[in-house]
């Protein structure tokens, strides 16, 4: 019934082995085809996956919609990652996992700050910057700021960090699991470089 590629099976084994460990695991990998890096955080029932996104990939998506050139550049150069958050249900506890991205903290060049949320982007644009239809793309394409996941649930979306391409930062992620607040760290996340830095 399930069609799982070899890569997915190997990734799954790594994830499974990692999950068997008591502490948080961060699996770092590089896609051999496109060179994009992935950071996969696993602790308890939560999995958080951050996948680099080239500024040109974001430009290509945004140019299909009615964003001004300035907004397209600002978004494309804001260190956008594809983000997946999942409640694996691996523990068998049946507990929900919930996140609030307002609680996440990034450390960059010695400063600690919040990540740039979709509400902040949307509030910063006039109708000239982004049409109502274009704003819908951000409303639904960027990761929900708050969400609860039952076992088996996952969500996909874009997250932005507001720092230039090629920057390196650490991210402290927090979540609620079974009524308890928990946190972990993903270190040395690299924002994808812009096209002029590619070899």
């Amino acid at each position: 019934m399930y069609c799982i590629s070899k890569t997915k099976v190997l990734t799954g084994i790594l994830v499974t082995l990692a999950a068997a460990c008591a502490h948080a695991q961060v699996l770092h990998s590089v896609n051999e085809e496109n060179g994009l890096q992935t950071w996969h955080f696993i602790e308890g029932d939560i999995e958080i996956e951050l996948v680099q996104r080239l500024p040109d990939q974001s430009r290509a998506l945004l140019m299909k919609h009615e964003f001004s050139r300035d907004v397209i550049e600002e978004l494309a150069l804001s260190c956008m990652t594809q983000t997946i958050i999942r409640n694996s249900g691996r523990s068998g506890s049946g507990q929900a996992v919930s996140i609030d991205l307002k609680q996440w903290r990034m450390q960059h060049k010695g400063k600690t700050s919040g990540i740039r949320l979709k509400e902040q982007w949307l509030a910063s644009w006039s109708d000239e910057d982004a049409s109502p239809a274009a704003k819908l793309v951000i409303r639904w394409g960027m990761f929900p700021t708050q969400q609860e996941y039952q076992p088996g649930d996952f969500n996909w979306g874009l997250t932005t960090y507001g720092i230039p391409p090629g920057s390196v930062f650490d991210l402290t992620v927090t979540w609620q699991e079974g009524g308890e607040s928990r946190s972990g760290e993903i270190r040395n996340i690299v924002c994808a470089p812009d096209v002029d830095k590619l070899k």
Partner: protein, 172 residues
Amino acid sequence: MMVMKALQGLVVSLAVLAAAVQADQTLTAIPGGVKAPEFALQDTAGKTHRLSDYRGKPVIINFWTTWCPPCREEIPSMNRAWHLLEEDDIAILAINMGEDEDTIFIFTADYPADFPVLMDQAGDVIAEWPVKGLPTTYVVAPDGTLAYRAIGSREWDDNVLLDAVRALKQGR
């Protein structure tokens, strides 16, 4: 000896992995008899569908867009589910958020969808539903209440899911 241990470890890992994959095939029950928000939306052929038109049968309602990877991933299994459910008098409606007929038409050339695809171009309907991310799927019971929810994609032709929906038809 070490090879045996490695193989044992691999087998254990694969078993746990299989369980993890299986665990993804979940529907979350929604207690309390919450009424599903009514809507009236046109499909890509111009026909208007109201949720209340489907009263008396379970309805699987999928919110999606063409640019959302997991949405694209689950369309083929949803299409297979549609054919599996044809004789069960169970409906599937896919509500596309924010896109026009041309975009959906081009998409469905690559990802055939034989079930009705409704267009919520202004995002008014999705705003009335408890949806935070895409894809999200609700199962509406024959009495018009929300029965189940799934956040993220599923393999919709899996009988683990479809039997839960069929049970609603049988009043269980």
